[in-house]
Symmetry: C2
């Protein structure tokens, strides 16, 4: 805590000369934004209208072309980067004469797939509402500019927050700087990709192929939500993630539970047993070796977490739970390795339930990694544990020979593993970004040493030699990846201020 | 074992005088049946063609009318019994002058609901095939009588085994006796109900209303499958059953597992924990008090189980498991109380899995009771256990107040509870039935003290004052309650012999 306060103090001292000017900048950007709110929200609405999701290549192309044109109009040198037919990365470069630093602004323009029946309105028809709840009213006349936009209103649509908001904030911030006559302090590179929600399979190849053009002093990652306190936020790392799908095999076909129960093995009961052996009620992972090498937060990082505005009680109310799984607090608990049970399936439940022993039982997990863990080592620890508990591990459904030979048959399907990343919050670069963000927000921003969520920042770390800092915009309750994704307008306004500061008030 | 052998010996001695005659009867019935096989299978096919399932009242009525007509034609005094608009019970009485004993033949003419897409052919279009497997060929010309029916062939259709086979066996046995000039030795009552698969909700009222007409010395229950060795079978009891559906509540909506995992309670992980606390890997129920009062099999009953033909190794091969859940053997393991996990559901698995903490998790259980356990006491033991483990038990989804006040919320939905029943195998009535069955089969039949499955025989026990003995027909692999229900023809032939013996070779 003392260290963080010290850092803030240092930042303030260092920037003492520019404070008056920066506050002026922030105020000017804010004033320009207030005059242009309808147009800015209109830009976000236009971005939502284009179906840029992984299953719609035409929509991805249209979105990329449109964003490239936006950069062209603003004087960027642009290109569309791809590898092996991948969705295109919108690349842009804007050089500032005399600038010593180059900063890359990353975001993705693709959104998660949608299940339209779960949405209140079409996910690609942007809809402004007075709030998040089902009782929120639609504002149908907002485009006329006849009345001011309430900052608590939310624009609904796929990608509204994740990440089209970051792209719109960038463009609006750039326009604001031009309008108020403020030159960028850095060379700007834009890197907007189109397949993040599909796991960025071509990203490493694209980064490697364009390594020279992507040489920079800093990457700012415009992804993920801000802190639940709604304070503007910087994050310095992300947990890694990997997924595991586990299927336990019982009798070849469902069996009458009366005639065969207690004798024929029940894969649903065994699955429950396996999960209980792997994970304690407070979330601790019980698998030996699973957390080997996991690095806990440093004293400075713990202090940063302690300094975050308290939100736990509010979130408990918001999500409707009386007590958390562990007592250490929301943010600290997400700094640990995690084994999350995300799905269970066996037989039937409710009115469909039948008096049968299911023939198989399935569980889906995601595993969150912290620095020091590798996906390979975690996988090995899980497989060793299961093997020691008597499980025969399979790559596919059991053969007749498997069934005859092995009493405990389990299929494992691993996917999507990547490491965590946690940048040093105390480097000159980090301190400069914190200082600029604080000036833009007019208050200390929330500093997260490592987000609980995952973004494959390791791909950038592996390919490039530049620090990465997260610059999120979306509200935490944006329903990212789910139905009714939305952006709270106040978050967009905060984001425009932050982006303008990163372009014109950043120096180290 | 000694006792059972003794019993068999006693039976043989007691029936010494009638052995020659009985064998003659058995041979005569068998010869008549061989001449009429196509017609008999045709009767079963006709019964299958009528959609007598709970959701189709018209089909139930048509079936009841048809069965009543069958009894009318054979000289029975018939009636249709109902209570409060229930499906009709087909009642029939055939008095034998001078008979001292009256025996009721129970079966049900309704079948389980169907999911036609899971069937190889329409569940109400009877289809004869050479066997059970997917490679079994259809015999389309069997009705012409051009070739003999192979006893290993199977007739597919809803209700083929459960219980239309019992009804057809009864009618064919009655016809056989008439054809061979053998008078029944007892007064015969028929009681064929039409809502067993819906839990027989009106049965207690109907039994109470017609108690006088149903006065008898013995009820023979034509339900359930024979022993897995395919030996003709008598059973002297059934386990009770009750069902429990359990829903655990986590956050109000699914939450991002990265941002909230390890802090927001995960109901899927907690469900696994609860199940593992309730049930040991070998099936033993760990809930204190759950098995209070449960009566183990007597020495005679254990001996009867030891005397059963060994089937475990065959069944393990048939169901494709290398080792059973418990080592005590199939039949003995089904004499214990059981807690079967029949379904699990939470979030999504496989390709649909998302990085989320599910908002709820659901499990379906069935509980099998043995004599000495009552559904109320079992329910109380489960609820006490869960309450002691910190669970707040609800009747429905949690209210906002529930969510705010209680950290562990669980909804319990109980249904369908009834007690077990286990009749004494050593009474004169039981010994007479065993002896007649042995004579009909020409070998010792399989004697099951208590089936693992459940039939609400307690309803008869509560309403009537007569012993109940199970007289099953269907093959154990009849896919009862599932897709591709079928009857192996040899089982029908055995059943006709047994039914004829019960009508004409039973005396005590």
């Amino acid at each position: 805590m003392r260290l963080i306060r010290g850092l803030t103090l240092v930042s303030v001292l260092l920037s003492l000369a520019t404070v008056a000017q920066a506050q002026t900048l922030s105020a000017k950007v804010s004033a320009w934004r207030q005059k242009n709110e309808t147009a800015i929200v209109g830009q976000l609405a236009d971005a939502i209208s284009i179906r840029s999701i992984a299953v719609d290549p035409a929509g991805l192309d249209a979105q990329a072309d449109r964003l490239k044109a936006h950069l062209d109009q603003r004087g960027f040198k642009t290109d569309l980067l791809a590898a092996n037919g991948s969705p295109k990365v919108v690349f842009g470069r804007y050089d500032t004469p005399g600038a010593r630093r180059t900063v890359v602004f990353y975001a993705h323009y693709d959104g998660q797939p949608v299940a339209p029946r779960d949405w209140r309105s079409d996910p690609f028809v942007p809809t402004l509402r007075t709030g998040l709840g089902v009782d929120a009213a639609e504002i149908s006349d907002w485009r006329t500019g006849a009345r001011p936009l309430d900052p608590e209103w939310r624009l609904f649509g796929r990608g509204a927050a994740d990440d089209k908001a970051a792209i719109v904030a960038f463009l609006a911030a750039f326009d604001a700087l031009k309008a108020v006559g403020k030159r960028p302090s850095i060379n700007i590179i834009v890197f907007w990709e189109g397949e993040e929600e599909a796991g960025s399979p071509h990203l490493p190849a694209i980064l490697a192929a364009h390594r020279d053009r992507l040489k920079a002093d800093l990457w700012l990652i415009g992804d993920a939500p801000v802190h639940q306190s709604r304070t503007p936020t910087l994050y310095f790392g992300v947990r890694g993630v990997m997924a595991l799908d586990m299927t336990l095999y019982g009798p070849r076909r469902p069996l009458h539970s009366g005639h065969y129960g207690n004798w024929a093995p029940n894969p649903a009961a065994r699955l429950a047993q396996v999960i209980a052996e792997m994970r304690a009620p407070d979330g601790r992972v019980l698998i030996p070796g699973f957390s080997n090498g996991a690095q806990p937060p440093s004293a400075a990082e713990k202090a940063a977490i302690d300094a975050l505005p308290p939100v736990d009680a509010d979130i408990r109310r918001e999500i409707g739970v009386a007590a958390p799984e562990s007592e250490e607090g929301l943010t600290l608990s997400t700094q640990r390795p995690a084994l999350n049970v995300r799905g269970l399936s066996a037989g039937q439940v409710g009115d469909q339930a039948q008096g049968a022993i299911p023939s198989q039982a399935q569980a889906a997990f995601d595993i969150r990694l912290v620095p020091g863990q590798s996906p390979d080592a975690v996988r090995a620890s899980v497989e060793t544990f299961l093997t020691k508990r008597g499980w025969t591990l399979l790559d596919g459904p059991p053969s007749e020979a498997d069934r005859a030979a092995h009493p405990q048959l389990m299929r494992l399907k691993w996917s999507g593993g990547y490491r965590a990343l946690r940048s040093d919050m105390t480097t000159p670069t980090s301190r400069a970004v914190i200082a600029a963000a604080n000036r833009a927000a007019g208050r200390p921003v929330a500093l997260l040493p490592m987000m609980g969520g995952s973004v494959p920042l390791n791909m950038f770390e592996d390919a490039l030699d530049a620090p990465l800092i997260g610059l999120p915009i979306g509200n935490h309750d944006n329903n990212q990846h789910a139905a009714d994704e939305n952006l709270r307008l106040a978050n967009l306004w905060d984001g425009i201020g932050l982006y303008a500061a990163m372009m014109a008030d950043l120096s180290w």
